[in-house]
C-alpha cells in the first residue's frame, strides 16, 4: 500500500513535469456495463453459465454496417465474427478447414463444388440453416449492385440445392480460391428472412454464438449470447460490448483503469502502457506495410531499375526498430510468413551504394520527383516521413500527400492522383486474392494496369490448380518475381499489440476476418 501511494505521488509529480508535453500515455474510457459474477462450477461439476460481459475498445467504427454483403471496411471484421458463422474457416497456416460446411468435393473438371452442411444449426430468428439459405445468400452476394463481394464470388455461374443440407456451386472457370473466400464475408450466411431487411446493417441475423441486441453506430454494438447456438458453451462470456473509441490514448486510458477488457495499442504506446502495469500481448498478423506503386502515372516508376533502387535503399530494419518498436519484421515479399503459400524471399539490408548504382543504370540517373500518399496518422505518417529521408540520397524528391482515408484511397486507386501510396495490406485467406489486388492488371492497388506477363500466367495457373503443394510453388515463384521486379515495395510485416485485462482468455484471430471473441472466457478472480 505504501509503495502504491508513493508511486501515485511520483505519478502526480511526473504529470506536472510533463505539463509541457502534448500527449502522455493516457487512457480514455467507455460506458461499461460492469462485470458480474464469474464462472464457477456447480454442485454436479457442470459449468455454471458465465454472466460476464466482455468489453472491447474498438479502434475503428467499421461496425456501422453489419451486412456482410455491403461492408466496405476491411478491418471491421471483428464486429461480424460473433454474429456470423462462415461456410469454411482458415487455420493459422492458411489451410481451409470445415465451418458450417462439414465437407466438400470438387468435380473432376474443377468447375463444380459440392458442399455438405451441418444439420444442427439455426439462425438467430429461429429459422433452420439449410442449403436453400446458403443459395439465397450467395445469389444475393454475387449479384447485388452494391455488393462488395463481387470480386470473390464473380466466378460463380450457378448454385443448385441438391438436398436440405447439400448444394453445388458451379463456376465459370476453375477457382481454387473459392473455398478460402467462403471463410470470409462471402461465407457469412444471413438468414433468408432478413436478407432484404432495411435494418440488416444494424441488426444482423446469422448463425453465430452471439446476436446483436443494441447498436448505436459510432458508439457501441452490444451482443448477447445465442442460447440455441450449435456449439453452445457455458463458460464463454454472456455478452460482448464493442465500445468505439477512436482515440488511441483514450483507449489505453480505459484499459489501464479497467474499463476495457481488451483493446489494440499502438507500437509507440506499448512501453508506457507496460510501465503503468498493463499486460500487453503481441501476436503475429498478416498485415504488411507496403508502398503501392502506380507504374503508369510516373514514367520513372515504370522503370524496374528505379523501383529496385528504391527497394534497395530503404532501411527496413531502422523502420522496424525506430518507428515500430521492433514489432514489424522487415520483408520484401507480398505474402505474410508462416503460411502454406509464403514466399522464400530474403530480406536484404539497406545498401545505398547498390541503390545508387541501380539509379545510375536507370533512365533517371539524376533522380525525379515522386508523390507519396499516406493517411495522416501514425505509424503511416511517421513511416512516410522516414521514407522521404531514405530516398533522398537517390535524388528522389518525395512530395508527401498526407490526407484522410476517404480521400487518399480513391485518390490512388480510382483517380490515380498519386505515384505511390503507403498503406497496410491486410492480406487475404488465399494468395490469389493478394495477387489479384496487387499484381494483376485489374488489381485495385495496381492502378494504371501494369502487367507482368509471367505473373499473369502463373496467376492463372495458381487459381486453376487444386493441389495445395503445387499452388504453393506457383505463388512462391510469383512472390520472387514480384520482389525482384519491385512491382510493389513491401516494408515490414506488422505484429498486433493489445492490452488485455487480468482474467481474460480465449481471444484469437479468425483469419482472414479479424479478431475473434467467440471463445472469450473471463475469470475476474484470476489475477
Amino acid at each position: 500500500m505504501g509503495s502504491m501511494r508513493f508511486s501515485r505521488i511520483a505519478g502526480v509529480a511526473s504529470v506536472l513535469v510533463l505539463a509541457g508535453s502534448l500527449i502522455g500515455c493516457t487512457a480514455g474510457s467507455t460506458t461499461p456495463s460492469g462485470s458480474q459474477t464469474p464462472t464457477e462450477t456447480g454442485t454436479g461439476g457442470a459449468p455454471v453459465a458465465s454472466t460476464e460481459i466482455f468489453r472491447y475498445g474498438a479502434a475503428t467504427d467499421g461496425g456501422k454496417n453489419l451486412n456482410p454483403i455491403t461492408v466496405a471496411n476491411q478491418i471491421g471484421g471483428f464486429y461480424l465474427i460473433p454474429v456470423y458463422d462462415t461456410l469454411t474457416q482458415v487455420n493459422e497456416a492458411g489451410e481451409v478447414i470445415p465451418g458450417l460446411a462439414t465437407k466438400w468435393a470438387w468435380s473432376a473438371d474443377g468447375l463444380t463444388l459440392t458442399l455438405d452442411l451441418r444439420d444442427d444449426v439455426v439462425f438467430h430468428d429461429g429459422t433452420p440453416f439449410d442449403a436453400d439459405a446458403v443459395k439465397k445468400y450467395l445469389d444475393k452476394a454475387r449479384t447485388a449492385e452494391t455488393s462488395t463481394l463481387l470480386g470473390d464470388l464473380g466466378s460463380i455461374s450457378a448454385i443448385e440445392v441438391v438436398s436440405d443440407l447439400s448444394l453445388t456451386i458451379t463456376t465459370k472457370t476453375p477457382n481454387a480460391a473459392l473455398l478460402s473466400a467462403l471463410s470470409g464475408r462471402s461465407g457469412m450466411i444471413v438468414a433468408p428472412n432478413s436478407l432484404e431487411a432495411p435494418d440488416l446493417d444494424r441488426y444482423p441475423v446469422g448463425t453465430g454464438p452471439y446476436k446483436v441486441t443494441a447498436h448505436e453506430p459510432g458508439i457501441s454494438v452490444t451482443y448477447e449470447k445465442f442460447a440455441d447456438y450449435w456449439d453452445h458453451r457455458a463458460d464463454t462470456v454472456a455478452g460482448i460490448e464493442m465500445l468505439i473509441q477512436l482515440d488511441p490514448d483514450a483507449r489505453v486510458r480505459s484499459a489501464l483503469t479497467g474499463e476495457l477488457d481488451l483493446t489494440t495499442v499502438n507500437k509507440n504506446q506499448i512501453t508506457s502502457a507496460e510501465q503503468q502495469g498493463a499486460e500487453v500481448i503481441v501476436a503475429e498478423a498478416p498485415t504488411i506495410y507496403m508502398i503501392y506503386v502506380n507504374k503508369a502515372k510516373n514514367p520513372a516508376m515504370a522503370d524496374s531499375k528505379v523501383r529496385q533502387a528504391i527497394s534497395t535503399v530503404i532501411d527496413r530494419q531502422s523502420i522496424d526498430t525506430a518507428l515500430m518498436g521492433g514489432l514489424c519484421a522487415p520483408t520484401q515479399q507480398v505474402f505474410p510468413t508462416n503460411k502454406w503459400f509464403s514466399g522464400d524471399v530474403n530480406v536484404a539490408e539497406a545498401d545505398v551504394v547498390a541503390a545508387k548504382k541501380l539509379m545510375a543504370d536507370s533512365e533517371f540517373p539524376d533522380g525525379f520527383t515522386l508523390s507519396l500518399a499516406s493517411v495522416n496518422v501514425p505509424p503511416l505518417s511517421t513511416m512516410a516521413e522516414a521514407l522521404v529521408e531514405q530516398l533522398a540520397p537517390l535524388g528522389i524528391d518525395v512530395q508527401l500527400e498526407m490526407t484522410e482515408p476517404a480521400q487518399v484511397v480513391p485518390g490512388f486507386t480510382k483517380n490515380q492522383a498519386y505515384d505511390t501510396y503507403l498503406s497496410a495490406w491486410p492480406g487475404g485467406p488465399d494468395p490469389a486474392m493478394t495477387v489479384n489486388s496487387l499484381l494483376m492488371p485489374t488489381g485495385t492497388f495496381n492502378p494504371g494496369g501494369y502487367e507482368n506477363t509471367e505473373i499473369s500466367a502463373l496467376a492463372l495457373e495458381g487459381i486453376t490448380e487444386f493441389d495445395q503443394k503445387k499452388r504453393a510453388t506457383i505463388y512462391q515463384e510469383i512472390a520472387t518475381i514480384a520482389s525482384s521486379e519491385a512491382l510493389q515495395i513491401p516494408l515490414c510485416q506488422a505484429m498486433s499489440a493489445q492490452i488485455i485485462a487480468p482474467g481474460v482468455s480465449g481471444v484469437t484471430t479468425l483469419a482472414p476476418v479479424g479478431a475473434d471473441f467467440r471463445h472469450v472466457v473471463i475469470d475476474r478472480a484470476a489475477k
Binding site: V12, T30, T146, L150, G218, I219, R253, S254, T257, K414
Partner: protein, 314 residues
C-alpha cells in the same frame, strides 16, 4: 416584446437557411466521392453508379439541396449514407450528451465565475484579486485539449478518483451521470470561469463607482446588500452578453473534450461525418447546433431586455 420575438424568430429562420446553404456548398468542395467511401476498395464503375443513383448523389446540387431542405422543413433530416441510421436518431442519441456537458459547464462557469468576480469586484487591488487575475489569464490561455489530458491523467488514471470518460444517461443513474461528467465539465469550465470572473469583476468595479452606490452607502445600507442586491444586478448586462458568447464557445470546444473523454456527443458525430463524407449527417448536425446556438443568443437578448427595460423599450 411580442414584436421583438417575432423579429428575432424571423432572423433565426433566415440564418438557419443561410447556414444550411453554406454547409451544403462546402460539402460540394470536400474532395472524395461518398459512393467510393461507401463501397471501399471493391468499388467498380457499375457499383459506384448504382450507389450514386440509390443515394441521389448523381443529381444536380440544386435538386439535392432542395430535396434535403424540404425534408428538413418537415423534420426529416435524412439517413446516413453508410447505414440505415437516421440522422434524427443519431442526433437524438447524442444531443443529451453534448447538452449535459455544455449546460453543466455553463452553470459551473456562471456560478463560480460570477460569484468570484463579484467578490473580487469589491476588493480590487488586493493580493487575492491580483492572484486570481493572474490565474484567470493563464486559464484563458491554456489549450482545453491539453488541459483535459492533464486532468484525466491526474484524477482518472493516477488518483482513480473519477472515471476516465464515457457517459451514462441521467435517467439511468444520476449519480454516475454526474460522476462521469465531472472531469469533462471541469476541463471545459476552466476557461469560462476565467472569462466570467474577469468580466464580472470589471463590471462590478464600474458599477460600484456610480453615484447611487455612494448614496446607498450614505443611507447606511449594509455593504452586502449594496454589493449583491444592487450593484451585481446592474452589472449583469455585460455578464449576460459574455455568457451568451460563452455558450457558442462551449459548443465548439466540446468537440475536443468529447474526444479526450470519449463522450458520444454531436461533436464526435460531426467529426466522423466529415471524415466519412456522410453528407446528410453533416448537414443535420450543423443545423441542430446552429439552432441551439441561435436559440441561446435569443434567450440572452430576452434576458437583456428584462435586465434593462430601456433596451427592451427600444
Amino acid at each position: 416584446m411580442i414584436s421583438f420575438l417575432a423579429r428575432r424568430l424571423g432572423a433565426l429562420l433566415l440564418l438557419l437557411w443561410l447556414v444550411t446553404l453554406i454547409t451544403f456548398g462546402m460539402t460540394l468542395l470536400i474532395p472524395g466521392d461518398p459512393a467510393i467511401a461507401i463501397l471501399g476498395d471493391s468499388a467498380t464503375p457499375e457499383s459506384i453508379a448504382a450507389v450514386q443513383e440509390a443515394m441521389g448523389l448523381n443529381k444536380p446540387p440544386v435538386e439535392r439541396y432542395w430535396t434535403w431542405l424540404s425534408g428538413a422543413a418537415t423534420g426529416d433530416l435524412g439517413t446516413s449514407l453508410f447505414s440505415s441510421y437516421t440522422v434524427h436518431e443519431a442526433i437524438a442519441t447524442r444531443i443529451p450528451v453534448t447538452i449535459s456537458l455544455v449546460l453543466l459547464s455553463l452553470v459551473v462557469s456562471f456560478v463560480v465565475g460570477v460569484g468570484a468576480g463579484s467578490f473580487l469586484g469589491t476588493r480590487p487591488g488586493t493580493k487575492l484579486d491580483r492572484s486570481v487575475m493572474f490565474i484567470s489569464a493563464a486559464s484563458i490561455a491554456l489549450p482545453n485539449f491539453w488541459l483535459g489530458i492533464l486532468v484525466v491523467t491526474l484524477f482518472g488514471v493516477i488518483l482513480r478518483w473519477f472515471p476516465v470518460g464515457g457517459y451514462v444517461p441521467l435517467a439511468d443513474d444520476p449519480g454516475e451521470w454526474l460522476h462521469r461528467l465531472a472531469l469533462p465539465v471541469l476541463t471545459l469550465a476552466v476557461g469560462g470561469i476565467a472569462e466570467l470572473v474577469r468580466q464580472t469583476r470589471a463590471s462590478m468595479i464600474d458599477t460600484l463607482r456610480l453615484d447611487y452606490i455612494r448614496a446607498l452607502r450614505a443611507k447606511g445600507v449594509p455593504p452586502f446588500t449594496i454589493h449583491y442586491r444592487h450593484a451585481l444586478r446592474n452589472s449583469m448586462i455585460p455578464i449576460v452578453t459574455v455568457t451568451g458568447l460563452l455558450v457558442s464557445r462551449l459548443f465548439g470546444l466540446s468537440i475536443l473534450i468529447e474526444s479526450v473523454f470519449n463522450l458520444p456527443g454531436v461533436g464526435s458525430l460531426m467529426i466522423r461525418s466529415v471524415f466519412d463524407r456522410d453528407i446528410p449527417m453533416m448537414q443535420g448536425v450543423v443545423l441542430v447546433i446552429t439552432v441551439m446556438v441561435v436559440t441561446v443568443n435569443l434567450i440572452v437578448d430576452v434576458l437583456y431586455g428584462i435586465l434593462n427595460p430601456k433596451a427592451a423599450a427600444k
